[in-house]
Amino acid sequence: MALTRREFIKFTGLGLAASSLGMLGFGAAGEAQAAAVRPFKLTHATETRNTCTYCSVACGLLIYSMGDRAKNAHSNIIHIEGDPDHPVNRGTLCPKGAALLDVVHAPTRLKVPRYRAAGATEFKEVSWDFALDRIARLMKDDRDENFVEKNAAGTTVNRWTSVGMLAASASSSETSYLTWKVVRSLGMVVFDNQARV
């Protein structure tokens, strides 16, 4: 085989592919098929580089969205595929990654803050201000009540054990860092993440 596998994988990449496959002679077919086949849907879509949100292989993604980021065009993600330049996944994706579009647009994605009062049987939609004001109030009241400044031996311990936090597993390191700052500056110690499960 004239091509090494590396080169082979390479030319399946988006940019290179067009020219290399064209050289192999697939281009001519293109002219004909253009009239018969489904129009290529990404021709002018905006391409954004991203990383898969699932496992830790961290496959590179190309996210295609409608619109060219003009002021009046509201970007909407229409397709996601692997980034052929990424050294690990080289354009491939697993069945989860290949279906990322459906999680971005899942019908069960949340759009509005919702609140369930004690004993209620349903959620009701609330404003962000209501939700965050109420959460902060609940947290402060409990912290003021249960904060431990010194232990029995008189050591300053400054901990708060009655409210806990579970951190995400897919949020960015920047989010994590900010979360750490908020959580620890409150003295929170019941703090964990999804590392084990």
Partner: protein
């Protein structure tokens, strides 16, 4: 035909014309599915559904990882799983991606009665042009691999297009790109055949002495080929046909019967015409009328 560049078709369904053949140097493409590298992850299925905007109804667990349970108008490719215990008593999990084989001599195209509803591009891709499809289901009968499925909604036939929309702009098909282990490769048919040879050597060195390429010549070879560890028994892989060919029944139906039937019908009509011209009409004569009247009257009088 519409505004297609017909030079780039090498076969068109229900066409009595030989397609133009001036462009004779277009490379044939092929998808090579190396079953020995396939982990059955269904990334190809997901990528196919995502790219082609296909979503089957959510089904049930049916006692296998095979989901959905069958190909359908919205399932163009499907992983099939077979648990096989070999002669040594060791388990082999033979997983095969099923879908259109893009035959060089496509049975579906042969059977199709709607002009231009099935076409074969010069690069070998067999594509369904749904605009022209009449939903008769003949392609289902023509296919040696049981691939096309007719939609109950729009009554059109669907199957893998080999992502003709992607290939036409110089990209590989969506399943090929997604495949995490490189079990699906795409390139020129010559390159794929050669690469398959390397893979078969490797498999033989690992004890699969019957490893081989599945590129059945009875259908002129295919543009989707398999590297199989047990090329001597393709049917182990969830019923991949051992000897696929266009059924002789279909060949008879779509081959010899067509001209014979036309000749037969025409002959009957012509016979009539020539008979009419040579023998003329069989007319009732005046004498007949008289005789007839007489016969009627006679009896009337006799009772």
């Amino acid at each position: 035909m519409s505004d297609l560049q017909s030079q780039d078709f090498i076969r068109i369904s229900a066409s009595t014309m030989t397609p133009p053949s001036a462009r004779s140097h277009e490379d044939q493409v092929a998808k090579l599915i190396d079953v020995s590298r396939c982990i059955g992850c269904k990334a190809c299925q997901a990528a196919c559904m995502e790219w082609n905007d296909l979503r089957q109804d959510i089904g049930h667990f049916e006692g296998s990882y095979q989901n959905p349970d069958d190909l359908s108008p919205s399932v163009w490719t499907l992983m099939k799983f077979a648990e096989y215990e070999n002669e040594q008593g060791n388990l082999e999990w033979l997983i095969r991606k099923d879908g259109c084989m893009h035959c060089a001599d496509p049975g579906c195209l042969k059977a199709c009665p709607a002009p231009g509803a099935i076409v074969q591009y010069a690069n070998g891709i067999v594509d369904f042009v749904s605009d022209k499809c009449i939903g008769c289901g003949y392609c289902v009968k023509g296919c040696p691999f049981d691939i096309p499925r007719i939609s109950k909604v729009d009554h059109k036939s669907y199957k893998c297009t080999l992502c003709s929309d992607r290939v036409s702009v110089g990209l590989e098909p969506a399943c090929v790109k997604a495949c995490p282990t490189g079990a699906i490769m795409f390139g020129s048919k010559a390159d794929m055949t050669e690469w398959a040879g390397e893979r078969i050597e490797d498999l033989k060195s690992r004890g699969f002495s019957n490893a081989g390429l599945y590129d059945p010549q009875a259908v002129g070879g295919t543009h989707v080929m398999y590297v199989l560890h047990h090329a001597d028994r393709p049917s182990l892989y969830s019923g991949l046909p051992d000897h696929p060919q266009i059924s002789p029944v279909v060949s008879a139906w779509k081959g010899i019967l067509k001209p014979l039937a036309m000749i037969g019908i025409a002959a009957a009509a012509l016979a009539g015409i020539f008979h009419g011209v040579t023998e003329g009409p069989n007319e009732v004569t005046e004498k007949d009328e008289e005789e007839g009247e007489r016969a009627l009257n006679e009896t009337e009088k006799t009772p």
